[in-house]
Amino acid sequence: MDFSLSKKEILFQQMIREFAEKEVKPLAAEVDEEERFPLETVEKMAKLGLMGIPFPVEYGGAGGDNMLYSMAVEELSRVCATTGVIVSAHTSLCASPIYEFGNEEQKRKYLPKLCSGEWIGAFGLTEPNAGTDASAQQTMAVEEGDNYILNGSKIFITNAAYAHVYIVMAMTDKSQGTRGISAFIVERDFPGFSIGKKEKKMGIRGSATCELIFENCVVPKANLLGKLGEGFKIAMKTLDGGRMGIASQALGIAQGAMDETVKYVKERKQFGKAIGKFQNTQFQLADLQAKIQAVRLLVRMAAWKKDKKLPYSVDSAQAKLFAAETAMEMTTKAVQFHGGYGYTREYPVERMMRDAKITEIYEGTSEVQRMVIAGALLK
């Protein structure tokens, strides 16, 4: 067993930290305040290969792995959770299912453009009446000649407004239950497809979360991802990877809040000394630090197992559950340590607290993660 980073990973961490610090952090407050999608950052990331980290060079990827990808989402989220989720949703929820379940033709068509960042990816599973119960899909796909005709809508879709490619689940045979759900690769300009209203969110406010609307949307049969009826399985496997990404995001948020807090408690003086000199501060921070480090190990283990092609569904759920709840706890306490200043936008911790909340909700709520973990435990 070896817990040290490889030389390659150290070099990667050096690069991504510098990138996050110099290119991402300066925009974080503005992106949040103006609810602005940081397209310029996506362009910079694309140039470096950050939009296709874990995919092979032959498909235009960087030839890296999930460990590097996880580290990237962590370091980006440490300074800006919006930027972290843009990369995570793009990589885990769109490029990954095409790479893992797509046929050669689909891989050749979509991966190079996604990996180069020319196209941004998104994923559509959630519907107004299919949240945690994702099997209750109401979007329908009906076969018609060489095409499927999709009708329905998807909500809370990350990257929606700026994406070019969407992995969309739709019911092809209602009588089959979850086995009647299929996955489709939908392009932005397919007839009958449109983007609906943009959500006004509490956190990750730059991530352009919108509704997807399908009104007799024409999807060529060539864009069926995997086999007919495999959609639910594809969605669940995709979310295993997605959860590892969100766990990395939550880890980054927690670490970012810790960074800010450590800096603050050393500077801020009350009763004649720095508040970091009080044992109450020290003990609370020590507990949080231990949790963050535990989260990091869970996240790295999930990424490592995915790279080794070992089953990692439960690892991913554990990582996400603990990461999200630690991020929430850390950011809440960070605001508390900052006192009145922490409640204002002068300091970044209130943003981090708002951003942390979503990690307990999307890509499976904490309750869903518990279901996955308990299900494996009690089977």
Binding site: L11, F12, M15, K47, A62, G63, G64
Partner: protein
């Protein structure tokens, strides 16, 4: 076009702290980085690669851990990396360092040699011009910008204290670059993934033909006679008073010391 960029691994001096008890430098845990001016020089080379397809070699002289910096240069886009490492090179001052590097450069084919203006651990700014002299090449120091005519002529903007100078020089030549000349690119992910699978050539004394007495400690005319931390001067008096009273004290002192 072939370019050789001389780079150096240095401690990140902005992170160096003194031990308050002993007054000595704390080196533990101080990260090593590619010297900023050298990175600016590498970026100029990589821009010439982007534009004119130049072949870029990076070369360093230093201890084994300098390998990581060469990998960084490869991940940024350099084509070839040479690590000069030999006990015979150790303990060199700037002149002996320049003898060794010039010796290596004589074994290479190039149109342009780039160094950083100076390294942040020594701030000497001497090795670049010394290399140029050994190779009998023209030098341009303090380079802020460089344009190439695609044939053999460089038009260079050189920084001065009170402005700048535009100069022209033909290849081959040596330039020393300021980190403020550009914003060096980040390593690419693919470059990082491949960096440790690529070859870094290790060159020793046997790879260059320079007399041993011109290298390392032996070849160094200068020696450190002693080093010390600055003796702190006795601190003056510090007053913790209301602003009005503070101003009284300042004005009184100024009257005492100066004519106001």
């Amino acid at each position: 076009m072939k370019i050789v960029v001389c780079i150096k691994q240095v401690p990140d001096t902005t992170e160096i702290k003194l031990d308050p008890a002993t007054g000595t430098m704390i080196r533990d845990g101080v990260p090593s980085i590619m010297n900023p001016d050298d990175k600016g020089g590498l970026e100029i080379a990589l821009q010439l690669k982007d534009k004119y397809g130049a072949h870029v070699t990076v070369i360093t002289m230093g201890p084994p851990q300098a390998d990581d910096m060469l990998r960084e240069a490869l991940a940024m886009g350099a084509d070839r990396a040479i690590h000069m490492s030999d006990r015979k090179f150790a303990g060199a001052d700037t002149l002996a360092t320049s003898n060794a590097i010039a010796g290596a450069l004589r074994m290479l084919d190039f149109d342009l040699v780039i160094t950083g203006r100076q390294a942040i651990d020594g701030d000497t700014a001497q090795v670049g011009p010394q290399i140029a002299e050994h190779l009998d090449l023209p030098q341009v120091t303090y380079v802020e910008d460089l344009q190439f005519d695609g044939n053999k002529t460089f038009t260079i903007r050189k920084s001065l204290e009170d402005g700048y100078q535009m100069v022209q020089v033909d290849a081959p030549c040596v330039i020393t670059v300021l980190s403020s000349a550009n914003k060096a690119r980040y390593m690419s992910v693919r470059g990082i993934v491949e960096a440790y699978d690529r070859e870094v050539e290790v060159w020793t004394y046997d790879n260059i033909s320079v007399a041993e007495e011109k290298l390392g400690l032996k070849g160094s005319p200068t020696r450190v006679w002693k080093s010390f931390t600055k003796g702190a001067k006795a601190a003056g008096k510090v007053y913790e008073v209301e602003p009005n009273e503070a101003v009284d004290i300042i004005v009184e002192k100024l009257k005492e010391k100066f004519i106001i």
